[in-house]
Amino acid sequence: MSETTTYTGFWQESPRPGILGWLLTTDHKRIGILYLGSLISMFIVGACLGLAIRLELIAPGRTIMDAQTYNATFTVHGVIMIFMFLIPSIPAAFGNLLLPIHIGARDVSFPKLNLLSWYCYIIGAVLAVASIFGGGGAPDTGWTFYVPFSTQTSTNVSLAAFAAFMLGFSSILTGINFVTTVHRLRCEGMTWGRLPLFIWTLYATAWIQVLATPMIGITLVLIILERTFGAGLFDAARGGDPILYQHLFWIYSHPAVYIMILPGMGVISEVIPTFARKPLFGYWAMALSSLAIAFAGSLVWAHHMYASGMSDLAILVFSFLTFIVAIPSAIKVFNWVSTLYKGSIELAPPMLYALAFIFNFAIGGLGGLALGAAASDIHLHDTYFVVGHFHYVMFGGGGFALFAAMHYWLPKFTGRMYNHKVAVIGWALLFVGFNITYMAMQAVGIQGMPRRYYDYVPEFTTLNQVSTVGSWVMALGLIIMFANLWRGMRSGRPIGLNPWGAATLEWSIPSPPPLENFGEEDPVVTRGPYEFKGVVADEY
């Protein structure tokens, strides 16, 4: 057993020993690990609910649950996956783990606030779970909480809304922290032009978190007030306007989809150059397109509302702007692909996930174009095509990027390597199962099956069955992947500083990194993040 001799870095070094050393830590790496653990747990809960949804839909009519339970199931599935899994996933877990190291700092600007943000997350998660079991029954509004249904239903909507409010607060605190850190704590020589792309995307994301999240905060508060006072804020008969609710909701929730994808794009922009051993193609285009997505993403929210009764002029404007956001995404895809040109490509597990990301994201994103065009959205709106679209971008994009990040960086933070063969098997099953599941959903959506449907007409049976079977393949892949990573972290072979031969700062310090990251002396950076000349990969 080599355990005793291996170095354990921040896992052991701490001002406080034991469990308190974790619960009261202000170290960004430990907080990152806390986040990772909690959000993976939430992911597993949410994913099992997803499996239950698919099982119910294997045949028309009732199979395993009644309509009310089904409605609660997809609501909780959506709330968990969005607010508790994907929004915090990469920024809060890997952002915390890596942001300070990437810019050569000891920690983030506000370490205590960072811990507070994790506690807000935990409180939100606990309240959300409580809302499932509390008095009125699990919330059944869909994750969008549309009025007037959400103000009328007798389920625990207020509690769930408050939970989402806390999660939003947590996200805001992370955002404030990251913007400040990037501005204030870059080490000597870390110019804007030398920031790794991951940091650029985190920075853009953090701005969205700061400037958009409060809008969902006030929206949720209004729902709670409306439920307690019955004031009629969104009731047309009392001077309100139900469509305005949808504006407020999407003003946040559309930018939020870029909170989910941008950091993922950052991860892919780290992984691809490393495994092609070649500088990222078009660094500045990549950096600026991240900011462009963040900015333009705040201009397009009403594309979720083409069929809502909104004015036609608004449809014209928002449809136009929606297409504009697609352009920076296209730039990114083209740049990733051209980075491969004349490289030296190794298909290690993180790279496989990155390539799968590009494919899935392209399908999802191109599907987004059909949704962005006014005429076609009228047919596709609120059908399973939308469900397919967002699983492609959120799971196939955001989720796969998280898995890429886990395969890429977890060895760094645990000091141990997982089994590559098993990782490839898990990846293949996941990738194939994923595409079966969601391609079938897109197809059935084009045929006209509406979403949030407990029951469907018999014509849709076959495709739904295909989709359900696909979800089992995917489940198998996920279990293999998680099991392999877990075993690797516990008992894999120890690795050196730099197993992949990457050029960003974290690879120049021990694995796992020590408490102070860089020791007594702050680092001085003299080269860009993707200059691989002279970087040698350690054997592992």
Partner: protein
């Protein structure tokens, strides 16, 4: 163990970012207001007359003055005049309480007239008026909550100042609380004309 890291500018910058989130938070209510005003200009003017302009104006003066005192407190601590600073902080807190007391009387008067969210009487006055008062109560209520938080914050900082934890060398805490307080004032600067002065 870790070397004390200090970045006052960074701390202030973080505070500004936080204030932006507060602005956006309130803006949700202002969006609702703007849309409803565009829809019911007449009824909004009518409803606005039902609010007591004296309460509103006095509260405006109270808040502006409290903003002055807390700004002075920051200058005082910078110049090392701790005693001055403490007095100014407590005056600010007192003004905040005055504001809330005023608000209390104003609201009780209105509620006793049957005007509050969800009331029957309100419903009879027409949709525009209902919408006006709904938004008025929610916006002013949220603002009142911020007054409460801001005043408590300043109270805590004043205690810390008295204990010597806030000094002419490190006063970011006071400065940031002052920033927060100014935000409370800023919101009111818009709230006041929009609700009390629509003609």
């Amino acid at each position: 163990m870790s070397i004390e890291h200090r970045d006052d500018t960074g701390d202030r910058f973080g505070m500004w970012l936080f204030l932006y989130t507060e602005v956006i938070l309130f803006s949700g209510l202002f969006i609702l207001y703007a849309m409803a005003l565009a829809k019911f200009p007449q009824q909004y003017a009518e409803a606005s007359h039902k609010l007591n302009i004296y309460f509103g104006s006095i509260n405006t003066i109270v808040l502006l003055t409290s903003s002055l005192t807390i700004a002075l407190a920051v200058s005082a601590i910078q110049m090392g005049r701790v005693k001055h600073c403490l007095n100014l902080c407590w005056v600010t807190v007192a003004l905040a309480i005055l504001f809330l007391v005023n608000k209390y009387f104003e609201w009780s008067a209105e509620i006793s007239h049957g005007i509050y969210p969800g009331s029957e009487q309100l419903a009879e006055m027409g949709e525009g008026v209902t919408s006006f008062f709904n938004l008025y109560y929610f916006t002013a209520g949220l603002h009142g909550l911020h007054v409460l938080i801001g005043a408590s914050l300043i109270g805590v900082v004043a205690v810390l100042t008295a204990k010597g934890k806030v000094t002419s060398d490190r006063y970011t805490l006071l400065e940031n609380s002052a920033l927060y307080w100014h935000l409370v004032d800023l919101v009111w600067i818009f709230l006041f004309p929009l609700y009390y002065l629509i003609l």
